[in-house]
């Protein structure tokens, strides 16, 4: 009896998820902001991030029949975005841009937003300064470290979900995460005298 109930609940969840995936605008409304935040923080270019997010949502919509509900929609979408970011990172154009960006001041729209007056009630000067430090500290991380750090502490995903999205073992995720934490600790508040 308990098994029957469990199966029906699972079917209900899956049906709900599939209907959610059938409406691409609803999908975009729900997941676009978080995806955009993750992708911009990863690639540091808003226009490229817009394209990657759009491609992520379209790819998910096109392959929605293949989504078996083994993970959350958010994890699934993040995994697609990670793969698209990796594809872009392999292009020569992107490599050239990264090289140029390494010596330039980060003047992205998001960085400017962090510098300007924060919108959150607790957006004090100190909080904004700390947020900027986090943003700058992530620049020093390797792509994998940055992705794992973002997923864990900004997107607040579980280690198993990150492993699924990154398509790597949990232990590898932990290694990237600990190295990222070490680097960020040094740059954000770690230099206290």
């Amino acid at each position: 009896m308990a098994y029957t109930l469990h199966a029906s609940v699972l079917n209900f969840v899956q049906d709900k998820t599939l209907s959610e995936l059938d409406d691409i605008d609803a999908l975009a409304r729900t997941y676009r902001p978080r995806l955009l935040r993750f992708v911009v923080a990863s690639v540091r270019d808003e226009d490229l991030a817009d394209t990657i997010v759009q491609d992520t949502l379209l790819k998910a919509y096109r392959n929605r029949a293949g989504f078996r509900g083994e993970c959350s929609v958010n994890t699934w979408l993040t995994g697609i975005a990670v793969n698209l970011i990796r594809d872009h990172a392999r292009t020569q154009k992107f490599k050239f841009w990264r090289k140029a960006h390494a010596t330039a001041v980060d003047a992205t729209d998001m960085a400017n937003h962090l510098r300007s007056s924060g919108s959150s009630p607790e957006g004090s000067l100190l909080a904004r300064e700390q947020a900027l430090q986090v943003h700058a500290a992530m620049d020093e991380l390797s792509p994998n470290q940055r992705s794992v750090f973002l997923m864990r502490f900004i997107e607040e995903m579980e280690l198993a979900e990150i492993a699924q999205a990154m398509n790597m073992p949990v232990n590898t995720v932990k290694t990237h995460l600990h190295r990222a934490v070490k680097s960020v600790r040094t740059r954000v508040g770690g230099g206290r005298v």
């Binding site: 975009a28 911009v40 607790e122 864990r152 900004i154 600790r185 040094t186």
Partner: protein, 165 residues
């Protein structure tokens, strides 16, 4: 500059994620510097989360609908695979046909290209062209008569007759 790293990075990651072990928690309570460091980093991450999500929500709100793009792609996917293959085969066949006869027929005029204008011309256009040619012939003939009437003959004719008046 002193860096206070009494807690390991693994412990710190667990604390940041809100999943510390009991041992880590007791170590933290015994270390005021570590508590301060954790509070600072937690606050920084919280600010970063809030500010960047606010930015992303604003930007996402102005993004265009994905429905047209999804429809375009759906249509593209809906085209049967065999029709795509047929188009590809036809394109290759045309290409091969075009390039295979090219070497031997370079010197010869292409019959199709010559006959094409004739095919395109209507019967009335042909009649008009013929009329025009006839009138040109007539005009040239009458011009020669005029030359004769004026006694102006070509130099070769003059030499032959030995008359240069």
């Amino acid at each position: 500059m002193r860096q206070h790293h009494a807690l390991t990075d693994e412990q710190f990651a667990d604390l940041l994620a809100g999943r510390p072990s009991a041992g880590t928690l007791s170590e933290l309570h015994d270390d005021a510097d570590a508590e301060l460091e954790l509070a600072e980093l937690k606050s920084a991450l919280h600010s970063y989360r809030a500010e960047t999500l606010d930015w992303a929500e604003r930007r996402a709100a102005t993004a265009p609908s994905l429905v047209p793009a999804a429809r375009r792609r759906a249509l593209w996917v809906a085209v049967p695979q065999w029709s795509m293959a047929a188009i590809a085969v036809a394109a290759v066949a045309v290409g091969v046909g075009h390039f295979s006869g090219r070497g031997s027929d370079d010197a010869m005029p292409n019959a199709a290209s010559i006959s094409a204008p004739a095919v395109l011309s209507s019967a009335s256009e042909i009649a008009t062209d013929n009329q025009l040619l006839t009138s040109i012939d007539d005009a040239l003939t009458s011009d020669l008569s005029a030359v004769d009437a004026l006694g102006l003959k070509p130099a070769s004719d003059a030499g032959r007759h030995g008359n240069m008046e």
